[in-house]
Structures are given as C-alpha cells and as structure tokens.
Symmetry: C2
Subunit: 121 residues, 2 copies
Amino acid sequence: MNLKDILKLDDKGLVCAVVQHHETGQVLMVGYMNEESLDITLREKKACFWSRSRQKLWLKGETSGNVLHVKEIRVDCDADALLLRCDPVGPTCHTNETSCFYRRVEDDGAVTLAGDGVAAE
Amino acid sequence: MNLKDILKLDDKGLVCAVVQHHETGQVLMVGYMNEESLDITLREKKACFWSRSRQKLWLKGETSGNVLHVKEIRVDCDADALLLRCDPVGPTCHTNETSCFYRRVEDDGAVTLAGDGVAAE
C-alpha cells in the first residue's frame, strides 16, 4: 500500500501535518502539505509545507535556517492527517519559541504564556 | 486576551485540534472543532469535535466510552490550531490502536504498520 493511493487531500488539495520532536515528543507546529510539498519532504527528508497565507511552497527553515529534519512520517487511520517526527535545527516558531504552541488556554478561555517551552514532560 | 477574540476558524468555521497524551507525549489523533464543540470542550473538559464526515457534534467516547479528559489546551502562534493535552480513558483510534497514527510511511511512500503503539519514546 502506498501513501499516494490512500491519502485523502481536502477540497484545497491539502493534508494536515503535525510536527513532533522525535526525541522529546513535544508538538512543535501544525502545517499543511500539498502533493508537491509531500514529495519534497519524502525526498529531501526536510519538512516542506504549502503556505496557505502566501500560497506557495514553504521549505521550513529556508530563510531562518531552522530546518526540520524528518526522522519518521506517520499517517492516521483516515489517511487525512500526517505526523512528522522531526529533529529541529532550532526554534520551530517564528517568535523564536521552541514550539508554536507556547500559549495556554485557561478554563475561561483566557490565553496566557505557558512559559515552559511546552515540554513533553 | 481571550481565545474567542484571536481564534481563526477556516472557511468552514473549523479549527484543527491535535490531541496529545498529557503524560507520554504521544500524538493520539487530529480532529476539528467548531465554536460549539470548543465551548463544550472547555466546559466539560472532555474533548468534543465537529465530525466532518457526519456533519455533527462528536463527543469523543460518547459511544465507545473512550473519553479524552482534557488536562490542558494550547493555541499556536497563528491561533489557527489547538493542542489538547489529554488523559485518554482507552484507545483513541476506532481500530483499537492507542493512537490513530499507527502506520509509518517509508521513504518510497509505502505504508507499513509501525507496531509500536507510536510511543513518544
């Protein structure tokens, strides 16, 4: 069975890709891939996404140097989401936080800084 | 700052929600939430999603009993993805696998069973 035969892209031709640190388990970011960015990711073993805001291919770290080296790719039961287990060269978030998920949502919906680098514990 | 003021829903009124085991760091599933399912999740502290296939609210575990008790919610830098750190009552996947991401994608795109419960290691 090949990924291409089972992968379900959405109506924009995209699939959700969760990036997780392959050693710590920390969830670093969520991005979206089209077929071309997935091909590049599989070939180069560096995470490449489709930027929905810029509508172009986005090789993560191309500018910042903070490349995500892909150690393993997983696909979920519905084949409509991917999990990329990566070795990040530097901070994943453009804010310089280790993870893009650096803010906590409290019970009342208040958003606060977690201040802990979202470690997997 | 409240989540409701910053959250960016997509053109279908949905936001991507990654579910992670709050202790092991294992990524368990990816779901989508609309405002109502997010409200329920915040109030009940059990993960509730919008089922895109069935077009209805989906309180995870409602039928199977495999509820996801929500220990913490994170929001990402763009406020267009959520991370739910959960305590799962049982297997998260409908296949009875611990995680929905139980299949590995090899370099050539071949999909294989990971056979390891996708542990965070």
